[in-house]
């Protein structure tokens, strides 16, 4: 992979970016794992809120009512009441921010609403104006800020031990300790890392982390921690904190070693490759190798669950007009599955064993979002949905070449609404400037 160096977020504004490029953002409801992802239906254009009035010369902080003109993830373009069609003072803000309140909050808090000075003399009777404008309009639920706060509590805590994929040997797991939690993303430090720099970032719902003992229970390779390097103060994360995989029924027809399939290459998420089931583990887990790229000792096999949305039956790419990456070194191009199966004396994994669920995800081509660069998973970047194949999204990182694009499932916990970084305090990687690309 070609690593991206983090760049400073200073100067980047989602609001300006959305407005100047005339684009739309994926709604918060597309991201069920993100704060408010399950209760964002309350928020829509036209909803009125109380916000700080920045057009005031009073010495104290005062508020005024504004209406949502446009939504972009957690961010909203707001217009103060009384401006009607005048957009000159429109401004963007994060709806989950601490200064956003339902209408009625100011009166409850004993704060008077003060109209912006630009329109102070536009109406002689503000009461009559507000009664007319607000009666029958929608506002936020009274417990909105409480909901936001509850949605931003995360059960994983520092010092918890988990099993996580070994980033240098994908075929095995290692024990790592939660070092910090930001917005549900965990910074995990491998237990044997003495200076705590050997780390891995993933979301708490990532399929790459498991409770202690998981590897042994399913027969996955595991790198044991040197007992002298264990810290007594760390403790095992309770198993109920981890995301549950879908139950699969292993009937008489099940995945078998040697069966062929198509799979997203975990080392190059831009590519869907010809792959082979290398080992069948317990509880529906499979070790998979990318044909033509495998180490002799199987050290680059990787584990996908049978229900994973990242593995596909033979022919998936052809049916959906996606490029299939043939095995490295395979010269008989264009690649034909029929010939390849015959030449390798292998069979395709039965189609019925794959996950064919397609959630009503709500993503559309062109929508903006914040997405983890899974090749450098500490980075959350400005990104765009550029293709949608059933539940599979092609994520393009704005300002970067298409070669950095990644295939990501629509329910991936590594995708976030616009404004997520600001809300959680995570650093956002803005679109790459031309000089970086060079």
């Amino acid at each position: 992979s070609v690593n991206k160096a983090p760049v400073t977020v200073e100067g980047f504004s989602w609001g300006n970016y959305i407005t100047s490029n005339n684009v739309i953002a994926a709604p918060v409801t597309c991201f069920r794992h993100a704060p408010m992802g399950n209760c964002w239906g309350d928020i829509a254009e036209g909803v009125r809120i109380e916000v700080p009035n920045t057009d005031s010369n009073l010495p104290t902080k005062v508020f005024w009512i504004s209406g949502i003109v446009k939504l972009a993830g957690y961010n909203a373009l707001l217009r103060y009441e009384g401006f009607e069609n005048d957009s000159s003072l429109d401004f963007w803000c994060n709806i989950c921010g601490p200064d956003i309140h339902p209408v009625g909050w100011c009166a409850t808090s004993g704060k008077p609403l003060v109209p912006p000075q630009s329109i102070q003399h536009k109406y002689t009777n503000w009461k009559a104006f507000l009664v007319k404008r607000l009666t029958g309009a929608k506002t936020l639920p009274p417990d909105f800020s409480q909901k936001v706060s509850e949605n931003m509590q995360y059960p994983f805590k520092p010092s918890m031990r988990v099993e996580v994929v070994d980033k240098t040997h994908l075929c095995r797991t290692r024990v790592a300790v939660v070092e910090s939690v930001i917005g549900g993303r965990l910074r995990l430090v491998y237990e044997e890392s003495e200076d705590k720099t050997d780390d891995f970032w993933c979301h708490m719902y990532s399929p790459l982390i498991h409770p202690i003992g998981w590897s042994r229970s399913i027969g996955h390779r595991f790198k044991r921690t040197d007992i002298l390097k264990k810290q007594e103060s760390n403790y095992d994360a309770p198993s109920h904190l981890f995301i549950k995989v879908k139950d699969v029924e292993q009937g008489s027809e099940w995945f078998k070693e040697g069966m062929k399939l198509e799979a997203i290459d975990p080392l190059n998420l831009s590519a869907i490759c010809v792959a082979t089931i290398r080992k069948v583990l317990a509880e529906g887990y499979l070790m998979i190798g990318i044909d033509g790229s495998e180490a002799a000792d199987g050290s680059d096999w990787f584990c996908y669950h049978a229900s994973s949305p990242s593995i596909f039956p033979v022919g998936f790419c052809e049916i959906n007009k996606i490029e299939l990456t043939p095995p490295r070194g395979y010269t008989k191009l264009p690649f034909k599955w029929f010939d390849y199966l015959r030449e390798t004396g292998s069979i395709a994994a039965p189609v019925k064993l794959f996950n064919k669920d397609v959630p009503n995800h709500g993503f559309r081509v062109g929508m903006k979002l914040e997405a983890v660069d899974l090749m450098e998973p500490r980075l959350v970047c400005v990104a765009t949905v550029t293709r949608i194949i059933h539940r599979l999204l092609r994520i393009h990182f704005d300002g970067w070449e298409d070669e950095y694009d990644q295939w990501v499932d629509c329910e991936s916990p590594d995708l976030y609404p616009v404004g997520w970084c600001q809300l959680t305090g995570y650093q956002l990687q803005p679109p790459a400037p031309q000089s970086n690309k060079d």
Binding site: D42, A107, T135, K138, T139
Partner: protein, 34 residues
């Protein structure tokens, strides 16, 4: 009021306080008991 999505909205008397005085208006807020 229930939207086609099943979301329930309820009417609320909302208090407004301006420099001219205090009054109430009837607005809609989603049912926070849901």
């Amino acid at each position: 009021g229930t939207e086609p999505s099943g979301r329930k909205w309820e009417q609320k008397q909302v208090q407004i306080k301006t420099l001219e005085g205090e009054f109430s208006v009837t607005m809609w807020a989603s049912d926070d008991k849901k």
